[in-house]
C-alpha cells in the first residue's frame, strides 16, 4: 500500500501546478515584470540598434534573474505558513524528495514560462533570430540552476517574516556565474561565434546544482522547520 517515490513526486508536482494555476496572478507577475523591465531598456536608451544589441544579452539575463527571484520567496513559505509543510514532512516521503519535486514544479511554472516569452523580449531588444536557439537553451539551463540556488535560499529564509530581501542577497551572488556565462553565450550567438564553451559551462553549473542543491536545501529547510 506504500506510495513509491516516483508516484509521490508526481503527486507533489501535480499539487504545485494545481496551486499555481488557481492563482494566475502569482503566476503572471514575474512574467509581466520580465516583459516590462526588458521593454524599458529600448525606451530609455538612445535609438541606436547597435548599442541596444550590444546590451541585449546582459539586460535579458539580469531581468530573468530578478523576475525569477520574485516567485522564489513563496517556494516553501506558503506551505510553512499554513502548516502543510509539516504534513508534507511527516508524509513518510523523504524531505529531499519533497524539495526536489517542489523545486522542479517551481521551475516548470516560472522558468519554462520565461523561456517561452524570451523570443518576444529578444525581438524587442534587437537580438537576431539566429541567436534565439542559443538564448533559449542558455535560459533553460540558467533558470533551472537558479531554481535550485533559490531553493537553498528559500529553505534558509522560510522562517523569517520578511525574508525576501535576504533571499535576494543570498541567491544573487551565487547566480553571478550564471549571468556571466548565460549572457556570454547569447552574446557570442549574436556576433556569430560558436557559443558552445559558455553553454558547456552553464550545463556544468546546472548539473552541479541539480545534484548537490537538493541536499543543501533539505538541510536548510530541516533546520528552519525546528
Amino acid at each position: 500500500m506504500n506510495v513509491g517515490a516516483w508516484e509521490a513526486m508526481f503527486l507533489i508536482v501535480r499539487r504545485e501546478l494545481c496551486l499555481s494555476f488557481r492563482r494566475p496572478d502569482q503566476l503572471l507577475q514575474p512574467l509581466v515584470f520580465f516583459l516590462i523591465v526588458t521593454t524599458l531598456f529600448p525606451l530609455g536608451l538612445s535609438l541606436q540598434l547597435s548599442l541596444l544589441r550590444d546590451m541585449a544579452p546582459g539586460v535579458l539575463w539580469v531581468a530573468a534573474l530578478l523576475s525569477s527571484l520574485l516567485s522564489l520567496d513563496a517556494l516553501f513559505k506558503s506551505d510553512a505558513d499554513d502548516g502543510t509543510l509539516e504534513q508534507l514532512a511527516l508524509s513518510g516521503q523523504g524531505l529531499t524528495l519533497i524539495v526536489v519535486a517542489k523545486t522542479f514544479a517551481h521551475w516548470l511554472v516560472t522558468g519554462v514560462a520565461l523561456i517561452l516569452v524570451s523570443p518576444v523580449v529578444g525581438t524587442a531588444l534587437g537580438i537576431p533570430g539566429s541567436a534565439f536557439a542559443t538564448m533559449m537553451l542558455s535560459l533553460s539551463l540558467g533558470t533551472l540552476t537558479l531554481s535550485w540556488l533559490g531553493a537553498i535560499g528559500a529553505g534558509l529564509t522560510v522562517g523569517l517574516r520578511r525574508g525576501n530581501v535576504l533571499l535576494s542577497l543570498i541567491v544573487l551572488p551565487l547566480a553571478m556565474p550564471l549571468l556571466i556565462f548565460g549572457a556570454g553565450a547569447t552574446d557570442r550567438a549574436i556576433s556569430g561565434v560558436s557559443p558552445t564553451g559558455a553553454l558547456y559551462f552553464l550545463a556544468a553549473l546546472c548539473v552541479f546544482t541539480c545534484t548537490l542543491a537538493p541536499f543543501a536545501a533539505t538541510t536548510a529547510l530541516r533546520i528552519t522547520l525546528e
Partner: protein, 209 residues
C-alpha cells in the same frame, strides 16, 4: 513507564528554546488501545512535546521510540504509522477539501477518491468536498483536518487541540472517533487543555511550568 516495545515511548526528553527550558525530562509510554491526554496551562510545552514526538523537533536530550526503536532510525515506518493534526488545520486555501485530502493522504498510502469522500462523510463535511478550503468555516476546516487523519488510517494519532472551533455535535463526533480508534487497537496522544470526557480509559500527563 518509559519504554514501550509495542508502542510509543518518550524517555526523559529535554528541550530548550533559546534560554527557556521548555520540556524538563518528560517521559511517557503509550501502548495499543491507550489514549494519553496531555494537558497543562498555556506555555508549558504541550505543542513542543507533540512536535518532538512527531520527529519535527529534535530534543536536546532524551529519546523518542516507536516499537522499541529510536524514531530517527525507523523514520519512514514511523511516519507511515502516524497521523498528525497540528493546531492549525493545515489546508491549502486554494484547493478543495477533497484535493487537500488527496494530496496529503496520497503521499502516505494509495487511496481512492471514494475512500476520501467516505472519511469526509464520517466527519460530517461531505457537502464541502468540492468547495475550496478558503470558503469553509473554522469548524468545517477542523472537520476536514480530522477527515484527513481518518483517511490516513494510521495507528498512532497525534492531535493538537483537536476540539478547537468544533460545535457540540462536532465535539461528540470527535469523541466517538477517538473512542473507536482506541478500541480498535489504535494509539492516540491528544493535547487539550480541558477534560476529554471519554468513556474509555484515559491516561493523563500534566505538564507544569
Amino acid at each position: 513507564m518509559n519504554t514501550a516495545a509495542d508502542g510509543l515511548g518518550v524517555e526523559k526528553v529535554h528541550v530548550w528554546r533559546g534560554d527557556r527550558h521548555v520540556l524538563k525530562g518528560v517521559s511517557l509510554a503509550l501502548r495499543p488501545r491507550q489514549l494519553l491526554h496531555v494537558s497543562g496551562p498555556n506555555g508549558t510545552g504541550k505543542t513542543t512535546l507533540l512536535r518532538v514526538v512527531c520527529g519535527l523537533l529534535r530534543p536536546e536530550q532524551g529519546l523518542v521510540s516507536w516499537l522499541g526503536q529510536s524514531i530517527m532510525g525507523v523514520r519512514t515506518e514511523y511516519q507511515a504509522a502516524l497521523a498528525y493534526a497540528s493546531h492549525e488545520p493545515a489546508l491549502k486555501a486554494d484547493l478543495t477539501a477533497l484535493e487537500n485530502l488527496r494530496f496529503a493522504v496520497g503521499l502516505k498510502r494509495r487511496v481512492t477518491v471514494s475512500e476520501l469522500r467516505a472519511s469526509l462523510d464520517q466527519t460530517g463535511v461531505a457537502a464541502c468536498a468540492d468547495l475550496p478550503a478558503r470558503v469553509l468555516s473554522a469548524g468545517q476546516r477542523r472537520r476536514v483536518a480530522m477527515a484527513r487523519v481518518l483517511a490516513m488510517s494510521a495507528t498512532l494519532w497525534l492531535l493538537d487541540e483537536p476540539f478547537t472551533n468544533l460545535d457540540a455535535a462536532g465535539t461528540d463526533l470527535l469523541r466517538n472517533l477517538l473512542q473507536s480508534h482506541v478500541e480498535g487497537g489504535g494509539l492516540a496522544l491528544v493535547v487539550a487543555h480541558h477534560d476529554l470526557k471519554l468513556d474509555c480509559s484515559v491516561h493523563r500527563l500534566e505538564l507544569t511550568a
